[in-house]
Symmetry: C2
Amino acid sequence: MNNLPVDQLCELFLQTINQYSALEKSTHTYDVEPKIYLAEIHTIAAIRAHENINITDLAKLQGTSRSAASQAVSRLVKKGFIEKRVSPDTDNEVILSLTEKGEKVSDLHDKQHILLREKLTAILNKYPPETVDILSSLAIDVQKMWKELS
Amino acid sequence: MNNLPVDQLCELFLQTINQYSALEKSTHTYDVEPKIYLAEIHTIAAIRAHENINITDLAKLQGTSRSAASQAVSRLVKKGFIEKRVSPDTDNEVILSLTEKGEKVSDLHDKQHILLREKLTAILNKYPPETVDILSSLAIDVQKMWKELS
């Protein structure tokens, strides 16, 4: 393989990630107070999808550091979207769940998610059927490469 | 296509992007003062690869807002890695270039880039040869989808 396509792919990859990061920092137009960022909605959605998750597992799931996840959780507790509870199983573990307000935001996000999934599915359907598997496997390979670097 | 693989792909995509963002916020171990972040090195590398680029085009290339690019440039000018000059063609345009210190960091980054490109090429070689084209085209489709949303 010649170097050029890989370099161009890297440049395109950086560009796409930066665009996504800009999106994550934008506030959502949902009719809730206080204003909420897309990145925060994804944390709320992750907690709904993985009931009673703890902060360590949330960090792993989201691919962030434990301290970043912990800060995000504290902010969302303060904003009233999630709550920390003591695990019913072990009394020294904190688990996370949504408040009523968190559930409401999550419902709004789910509706939008369905729309996005349709758009994304339409895009993916233009490509060979093995594309989803290739992308998944590639993401795992790249994550492994990063881990070896750091 | 059933919904599950797309949802899993989205979760994996978010996880990969977050891991990458954490990397970008880490400081580099290059022997330069002041300390420099990976995201800053990518801006320096982009300026070297696109000589005499202006801030508007740099923002487009990196997929960030003009104001984010402008802030990043000011920080790097202050740190002594890049300099702003008046374009030799039009006297109301500011163009960007590297200082000697910026060139030095860029050389170090290039060496590391060659290593990374080798690793990435080895990964990509495990996949069908059309994968690079599929990824490039998919990135452009997804960027277009985001543009329509915002």
